[in-house]
């Protein structure tokens, strides 16, 4: 197959899901993000901690929208967020104020490390990037960012995924733990 021929695609897109799947995906995401966001906005506002980061939106797609995916399994969810968070913080601390370089290095290295540790979880890339882009609060957390919010938030979303995804007959979660 030559280079340009490869760009034509070889197969059809997978079938869509039925309405019950849509409902359970919606419910899981509502409860999972709801739990993390509630803690973030209602329990922690006065503290220096935070619980909600943008990458959890992406994790919700996988955990509740595609729970069969290897990318959505507990090993990937937890490993991907925690390892990427550590890499993101390290890149920021070593390379600031060269934020363009820190951003690129953080995401690229996060992907490499997730591959090597079999923890590939796409939202991990965002978790690494957020450590560089920051907010002042995130910068102040330092390496604690890997535990709060990255690890803890992922744990809460995992618990909701276990509860919701095993409720309907047509779903089970996880496919594997480790």
């Amino acid at each position: 197959m030559n280079y340009f021929n490869k760009m034509r695609g070889i197969t059809t897109s997978p079938p869509g899901v039925n309405l019950s799947e849509v409902f359970w995906s919606w419910l899981g995401a509502f409860l999972g993000i709801g739990a993390v966001a509630y803690i973030n906005y209602n329990l922690l506002p006065e503290s220096d901690l935070l619980m909600l980061i943008g990458s959890f939106g992406a994790s919700a797609v996988l955990l509740y929208g595609a729970p069969k995916s290897p990318l959505a399994q507990p090993r990937n969810l937890l490993g991907g967020h925690v390892l990427s968070a550590l890499i993101g913080v390290a890149c920021y601390q070593m390379l600031a104020p060269h934020l363009w370089l820190a951003s690129a290095l953080a995401v690229a290295t996060a992907i490499a490390v997730m591959h090597l540790t079999k923890t590939l979880h796409p939202p991990g890339g965002a978790t690494a990037l957020i450590a560089v882009i920051g907010s002042k609060k995130i910068y102040a957390l330092g390496y604690l960012y890997a535990i709060f919010p990255a690890g803890a938030g992922a744990c809460i979303m995992l618990i909701i995924a276990l509860l919701v995804n095993n409720s309907p007959k047509t779903r089970k979660y996880p496919e594997f733990w480790w």
Partner: protein, 204 residues
């Protein structure tokens, strides 16, 4: 040959994109894989399973147990008629107690008919048409043990198909009698047994 005319899915390569798509629709929930990837995966898994089976199956698993045989004293006319009736090109020659003493095949007939120079059916036909004679006369009245190939190459029923396939290829034989350790006949394994068990492998 087979009882029904229903097409059989002998080869995993017959799997169409439509089949994969229909199967994916039966599984509720979003599958994080494209139909193309699934098909590729399926084909590789199928090949792997086939190789694994081929490398672990033993002769006893696929051999034919109802063997058509000739006795060493069977007249060749009778043996030839037997082979013709059952559409086979060779059979084991046994003694009364079931001990295998040789193999009688088309090749043995060809070798002993005519003046010994013709080694195929077509060579015999060609020479018969030229000379107008009947080459079968030279072996008329003889018995199986007089022209059979002996000793026969045999295998045990515990032999791996992988090894027997290799043996048959190397010795250029199409069938091999399966015997116990006293050379008593238990069954026969033919090239077509191997081909039916593994349609993907054109030759065993």
């Amino acid at each position: 040959m087979s009882e029904t005319n229903r097409p059989r899915l002998d080869s995993a390569e017959l799997l169409s994109d439509e089949d994969v798509y229909a199967a994916m629709k039966k599984i509720p929930g979003y599958l994080d894989i494209s139909a193309g990837d699934f098909k590729e995966l399926y084909l590789l898994a199928y090949q792997h399973a086939e190789t694994r089976l081929y490398n672990s199956l033993r002769v006893a698993d696929i051999m034919t147990r109802q063997v058509i045989t000739a006795l060493s004293t069977t007249p060749l006319a009778e043996a030839a008629a037997l082979m013709a009736r059952h559409h086979i090109t060779g059979l084991p020659v046994v003694q009364e107690d079931g001990t295998v003493v040789g193999i009688l095949s088309e090749q043995d007939f060809f070798r002993n008919m005519g003046d010994g120079h013709q080694t195929s059916c077509m060579a015999l036909i060609a020479d018969s048409l030229v000379s107008g004679g009947c080459f079968a006369l030279s072996i008329r009245g003889h018995t199986a043990e007089e022209i059979m190939t002996t000793p026969a190459i045999t295998v045990s029923e515990n032999a791996l198909l992988h090894d027997v396939g290799k043996l048959m290829r190397e010795k250029r034989i199409n069938r091999v009698p399966v015997t116990d350790n006293k050379m008593r006949l238990l069954g026969i394994l033919t090239r077509s047994d191997l081909m039916h068990a593994f349609p993907e492998r054109a030759t065993p």
